[in-house]
Each structure stands twice: as structure tokens, then as C-alpha cells.
């Protein structure tokens, strides 16, 4: 446990010198997004295919407030978290009574509803062109326009998010959500109102997504229409599964790999998503626990070789 934290801190410290600070920031922003999804996917066993609803809504609302009303960064982030949680409460309320494929399709359909709203409402969202001009307002005299300073800010928020998520998954709530994943009928029978707990997971996941959405808008100075589309919803599921949905660190590692791959490969080879597709198939077929599982399997294989 101590070791993984050291590795993480080292990665946070070194990353902006390995890749451009903007990409480094994107890695941890996406990781926050993944942490939120994984509370649903990995812990509760709910495949939400509409997480960009919360990410995008928060980005638009907070981005608009910063751009038009000069709201400060702190307030904007708080509002983003609130919008993420509130939109997740609405979507969650409509989805938690469904299960299996119906659940997945409903999260997707509601995501499409939000997407088309953003697409049509061009006076605010800019439609297909996105909403440009999102500033990075200074906070307590700190100028976030310096990429490294903004990176440090993002990293700090990421580490706080990770700490909070660790507390949550190790709390009774984390255990109850996993119990729901393992056996919904029994979880209900031993005394948990399952739909209400699923809703709670949605709201918490939505809050994390909202935070990530605002940070994303501030990072690139724009809210692209993609940020509320199924592309982002799919990407975060993808990244989390590749990293490993069975553990806290899975989505972090997945986001690291996903963003790095997409940034480094997209300039070299236009068909790079093919690689992701292959990775995805491998994970689904052979490695349900993603990179995290591959890593632990590798080490147990190595130590068993050393013994003989």
C-alpha cells in the first residue's frame, strides 16, 4: 500500500516533464472521471454508459459562469461538483430501477438527450463548435495560466479525490455497494434499500465527474461538444476496464495508459484506436481485472519461478 502511494507521487511529480503539461493534466483529470465511474462499474456492478452527461453538464455550467459572470475558480469547481451530482441524481433516479441491458441503454439514451440539448442550444454551448473562451481565473493570487502551476493544481485535486474515493470504498458504503454487486436479492433482504444505495453511488460518481469536467474545460479553455457525448462516456469505460475495474487504482492506471496512448499515437498513426480495440478485446477475453490483474499475476508468476 505504501509502495503504491510512493509510485503514484513519483508519477505525479515526473509526468509533466515526460509529456506536455497539458497532457499530464489531462491524465489526472481523466483519472478523477474514472474514479467516479468505477464506484458504479467496479464496486456496484453497474455499467453506466452515460457518464459524460455529468462531466459535460458541469463543464458547460461552470464554464459559462466563469466566462460570462467571472465566477472564481473555487466557486466554479464547487458548482461543477454540484451540477455533476444533481444531474447524476436525476439520471440515477430514472435508471436504478432497471437492470442489465435496459439499465445500460437507459444511461446511454439519457446521455443522448443531454447531448442533443447541448447540440441544439447553440447560443450557450456553441453547438458543434463547442463553447470557447473558458478562462482559468486566478485563485488566491495564483496564476493558473502557467501550465505547470495548473498542472500542480490538478494533481492536488486528483490526490484529494483519490484519497476521498479510498475512504468511501473502504467505508461501510463501499462494502454495501459491493454486496449489491455480488447479490442484489440478498443485499435487499439483509436490510438495504438497493435502489437508494445505487442512487447514492450515482450521485457520488456524478460529483467526481463534475469536478473532472470543470477541470477539463479550464485546461483547454473550451467545452467541446464531445465532452457530453457518448464518445467520452465510452472512453472512460474503456480506460477503466483496461486499467482494471476491480481495484481503486485501476481507473487511474487506465487513464494514464489511455490518455498517453491516444496523445502519442494519434499523431503517429491515424488508425490508433484500432490498438485500443485490440487491448479491449484482450482485456475482455483474458484479463477481466485489466492491467492491475496482469501486474499482480506477473509478480506471483515471478516469485513462483524464483522459489523453484
Amino acid at each position: 500500500m505504501k509502495k503504491s502511494i510512493l509510485i503514484l507521487l513519483a508519477a505525479v511529480a515526473l509526468l509533466p516533464f515526460v509529456v506536455r503539461p497539458a497532457i499530464a493534466s489531462e491524465v489526472w483529470i481523466f483519472a478523477i472521471f474514472g474514479l467516479g465511474l468505477n464506484l458504479l462499474l467496479g464496486y456496484t456492478g453497474l455499467l453506466s454508459f452515460g457518464q459524460s452527461t455529468f462531466f459535460g453538464s458541469a463543464a458547460y455550467v461552470a464554464g459559462w459562469l466563469m466566462k460570462i459572470h467571472g465566477v472564481n475558480a473555487f466557486l466554479a469547481l464547487g458548482i461543477g461538483v454540484g451540477v455533476g451530482a444533481a444531474s447524476a441524481a436525476v439520471v440515477g433516479y430514472l435508471c436504478v430501477q432497471r437492470s442489465g441491458l435496459y439499465f445500460i441503454m437507459l444511461t446511454f439514451a439519457l446521455n443522448q438527450l443531454f447531448y442533443f440539448t447541448a447540440y441544439q442550444w447553440t447560443s450557450v454551448t456553441g453547438g458543434e463548435d463547442g463553447m470557447p473562451g473558458v478562462p482559468r481565473p486566478a485563485l488566491l493570487g495564483i496564476d493558473f495560466n502557467n501550465p505547470l502551476v495548473y498542472y500542480a493544481f490538478v494533481s492536488l485535486l486528483f490526490l484529494i479525490s483519490l484519497y476521498l474515493m479510498k475512504k468511501i470504498v473502504e467505508s461501510p458504503l463501499g462494502k454495501i455497494l459491493q454486496a449489491i454487486r455480488e447479490n442484489e436479492v440478498r443485499a435487499e433482504a439483509v436490510g438495504y434499500n438497493v435502489p437508494r444505495f445505487k442512487l447514492l453511488a450515482f450521485v457520488i460518481g456524478g460529483a467526481f465527474s463534475g469536478l473532472a469536467g470543470v477541470l477539463y474545460a479550464m485546461l483547454f479553455g473550451i467545452v467541446p461538444l464531445e465532452a457530453i457525448s457518448f464518445v467520452f462516456s465510452g472512453n472512460v469505460v474503456f480506460a477503466t476496464l483496461i486499467g482494471g475495474s476491480g481495484s481503486l487504482y485501476g481507473p487511474v492506471i487506465g487513464s494514464f495508459v489511455f490518455i498517453w496512448l491516444s496523445e502519442s499515437m494519434s499523431t503517429v498513426w491515424a488508425r490508433w484506436p484500432l490498438l485500443l480495440g485490440v487491448a479491449f478485446v484482450l482485456v475482455v477475453l483474458f484479463l477481466r481485472g485489466g492491467i492491475v490483474e496482469a501486474w499482480s499475476r506477473f509478480w506471483s508468476w515471478k516469485s513462483s519461478k524464483q522459489k523453484t
Binding site: K167, I168, E170, S171, P172, L173, K175, I176, Q178, A179, E182, N183, V185, R186, A187, E188, A189, V190, G191, Y192, N193, V194
Partner: protein
């Protein structure tokens, strides 16, 4: 005094009346068995008592209070816990976590639900360990539920119900699928629980029922056809015709 009563409880699935005007009274502290051939409606009766299904008509009274229509997740909090005929545990959880989740649900308070560490609820852990000890699984508390034998899973099934510290235990064929040896162990276990809890036991193995029950109710095609002490039931001609016929006589 009755702790659990049903009044004309009925459940219809379309044209099939699985439970038909069942009126039952369970004496506090007793072990009351419900027998009947497969498909008689015994499990459905439990599903009604625990809020899994809502009855088509009739009432359920627990501890002098009407609980008809109470949702399943509230039932455990009232003090009614059940086990399942088909093993229904949390497979990827350790045995301890299986009972911990059940113990926490009915714990004194959920304070710190989102941030307190699991080990900081000492009362819950104590109750969880007690439940494992009651069924003889305390040595395996760290093993995963999916890795233990079928017989042990049946014991765990029971432990999850016990962890809620209920007042009434509803046991649905606890010996289902067990070998004769394992069945003997399970009977001893149920016998040890007798007196500590009010127990409603569904079973279709007659030998088990006769030796442990205070009272027996017999179900047939959804209806109660007889009720009495084990000796009375054994002598009842209607019961012998409907149920014991080929088996015991």
C-alpha cells in the same frame, strides 16, 4: 403469545394460486415447521412474509403490528430474517464480510456510513463473529464464500440470517442438497438455535421435522390442510393421504 400471524394470506400468479387463504399463528419462542410437497407454496409464503412479493389479499401481523406491504429492505430491521432454499450468499466476499454486511444493516446506527473504517464498528464485528461461531465456521472466516463446500455454504446461508440478530428466523429448507452426514450436522445446528429464536422451518424431509418441531403446519396446493403437534400430524389421515402417503406410510 403469537409473534407472527397471517390472516387469509393469498398470492396468485395469474391463474395459479400459489398461496391460498393461509391463516397461520406462530407462537413466540417455538419452532414451527411447514411441510408440504414440492410446489405446495412454502417458499412463496416466505416471500410474502419477507416482502419479496406483495400478497394478492390477506394480512401479515408481526409483534401485534400489521406489516402487510412493508418493503423487503425494511423487514430485517423489524426483526425478521430468512435463509434461502437456493444458496444466496455474496460469492466474492470472505465469510466474515458475508455476515458483516448483514450485521451492519441492522446495527444500532449507520453513522460514518461514507467515511468510517469497517473495523471501527466493534459491535457489528462482534455480532458477525458470533454468527459464524454459531454455525461452526469461525475458523474459515477469511475464506471466500465461493471457495467453500456446498455444505459449508448452507451453514453460511444460515449465519447471514443469524447476523441480523433477528427475533424470528425463517429457514427455507436449510438441509437442501446436503448429504446424510451434513444433514445430521444441520439438524444439530437448528436444534441448538431452538429456544434462542422463534423459528419457522420449511422442510420436506420428514425425519428432521418430526424430531425438532413444536408444531407443524401442512401445506398442499397452496392451502393449509392440517396443523398440530408432530404426533398429531403423523396420525392425521388427510396428511397421510396428501403428503406422507408414499413416503412414510
Amino acid at each position: 403469545m403469537e409473534i407472527l400471524e397471517t390472516k387469509n394470506l393469498t398470492k396468485a400468479f395469474g391463474a395459479l394460486t400459489a398461496v391460498n387463504a393461509v391463516s397461520l399463528a406462530i407462537e413466540a419462542g417455538s419452532l414451527h415447521s411447514i411441510i408440504g410437497p414440492n410446489g405446495a407454496g412454502k417458499t412463496t409464503l416466505f416471500n410474502l412474509l419477507t416482502g419479496t412479493f406483495q400478497p394478492t389479499s390477506g394480512r401479515i401481523i408481526f409483534d401485534q403490528k400489521e406489516i402487510t406491504g412493508t418493503p423487503a429492505s425494511r423487514i430485517a430491521h423489524l426483526g425478521l430474517a430468512r435463509s434461502y432454499q437456493r444458496t444466496t450468499v455474496f460469492p466474492a466476499f470472505s465469510l466474515f464480510d458475508n455476515v458483516w454486511v448483514a450485521a451492519f444493516a441492522t446495527g444500532k446506527s449507520w453513522k460514518g456510513l461514507l467515511y468510517r473504517e469497517i473495523d471501527s464498528y466493534s459491535e457489528v464485528a462482534e455480532r458477525a463473529n458470533l454468527a459464524l461461531r454459531d454455525v461452526g465456521l469461525e475458523d474459515k472466516s477469511k475464506q471466500l464464500a465461493r471457495e467453500i463446500s456446498h455444505g459449508e455454504q448452507r451453514q453460511l446461508e444460515l449465519a447471514i440470517a443469524l447476523a441480523a440478530a433477528p427475533r424470528v428466523l425463517l429457514l427455507d429448507e436449510p438441509a437442501a442438497g446436503l448429504s446424510p452426514e451434513e444433514t445430521r450436522k444441520m439438524v444439530a445446528l437448528v436444534r441448538a438455535l431452538k429456544g434462542r429464536y422463534t423459528i419457522v422451518l420449511i422442510e420436506h424431509k420428514m425425519d428432521i421435522i418430526m424430531s425438532v418441531s413444536d408444531r407443524i403446519s401442512v401445506m398442499h396446493f397452496g392451502s393449509l390442510i392440517a396443523e398440530g403437534t408432530p404426533a398429531e400430524i403423523q396420525k392425521n389421515p388427510e396428511v397421510r393421504r396428501a403428503y406422507l402417503g408414499g413416503v412414510a406410510a
